[in-house]
Symmetry: C2
Subunit: 96 residues, 2 copies
Amino acid sequence: NLPSIEDLRAQIDSINDDLIRLISRRAQLAAEIGHIKTLEGRPHHYDPAREERQLKYIEEVNPGPFTAAALKSIFKEIFRASLDLEEANDKKQLLV
Amino acid sequence: NLPSIEDLRAQIDSINDDLIRLISRRAQLAAEIGHIKTLEGRPHHYDPAREERQLKYIEEVNPGPFTAAALKSIFKEIFRASLDLEEANDKKQLLV
């Protein structure tokens, strides 16, 4: 017997909760790195080599069913949001 | 004392592993829903009302530090990838 769409959606909703928690925790960690870089006088947060290493790893371990390109596009959106956050935090520190 | 950038990156790498696992599991569940819809003769997988409900929830529970807009942009990328996957699966079933 097939599970119901309702059951599957409940499982997705539960995963969404985990994703919100993990993505937000990851954002906190990225912001901490940004703060350290700022304290060290390194105002440029964009680190293409670090992003590239993560994307290469994601491609290597991708279990599917998403294509590597699809999975990487999701992580690229996370990277972009993190960079925006770090740059916004920098501006705030300059205003203090 | 501040944690080192290296330590923070190790924590991020560990979260990346969890995200890869959860995003892939979520993709599987979405593909199952797509399969059921196809079996039921509902070829259109895009469900804007369901997406809107999830985005509204994400905005309500967003713990930060990402803005709601940033967090939602990440989930929109997940929705887009899921829809692409379901449509690709449909094409495969038609070819069988």
